[in-house]
Symmetry: C2
Subunit: 114 residues, 2 copies
DNA sequence: AGAATAGGTAGGAGATTCCCTACGAGTCAA
DNA sequence: TTGACTCGTAGGGAATCTCCTACCTATTCT
């Protein structure tokens, strides 16, 4: 049913936008806050930000809590642990090969271990 | 003009696709290989995979080396270190279990994973 | 009740994504 | 040189993204 990787697709796609990453940073640094307080930081109409919040919600990265006529958004960092888990098997590839920027490493005879 | 976060946008966007993440996994697990060897794993025409490889190249996640009429693609994991760096300030938000205050945030205190 | 406030939704425009088929540029083998 | 092989690019179409303006509901305050 759920196509393979659909959850990770949504997660990475949610992060692939500067505005949305900035929202996450604001929630992380300034704590839970209503929509308007978030919107004040962006050169963008509020409905557009609402849609970004929807994307973040559907990725599980934020939650909303109703407080009167406001909706308080809160960072939900759990999905980011999934990102780190995904990252983990690649870690040795940038730890082992702390190579210089040269293209000469490909020509090193002892570098190739296919 | 908005160079702000453009690099990270491209990086996360490159990862926001199951096919492209699978390409990275193949390069990680099976080592550098030509395009056709990669394409064999997907239900997709080769030119489409070529475009995925272009996205990965522009995100710096793979490099190509010409070998005769083949092009050998290789995993370049360095940008993934940037992802981990981006992730780092959020880490305490899923390691700490919050600081009380919530109402429904974590009603089960013994839900700890090992 | 009526007005003001907070914020989601509808629908559209323009750009981008992701797949396809055709075709072009190099490279190897006969 | 001719032909086969590898791979990228051009261009198109359907879907999706990201912004907008209008509009709607829900809540709070006179």
């Amino acid at each position: 049913m759920t196509t393979i990787g659909a959850h990770e697709d949504r997660l990475f796609a949610a992060l692939a936008n500067t505005t949305r990453r900035e929202v996450l940073r604001l929630l992380r640094d300034d704590g839970p806050q209503p929509v308007q307080a978030l919107a004040d930081h962006f050169d963008m109409r509020r409905p557009s930000l609402s849609e970004h919040l929807k994307v973040l919600r559907e990725a599980g990265l934020v939650s909303e809590e109703r407080a009167g006529r406001q909706r308080i958004y809160r960072l939900e960092a759990a999905p980011l642990a999934d990102v780190q888990d995904w990252l983990h098997p690649y870690e040795r590839f940038w730890r082992d090969r702390l190579k210089g920027l040269g293209d000469l490493l490909d020509r090193m005879p002892d570098d190739d271990e296919t």
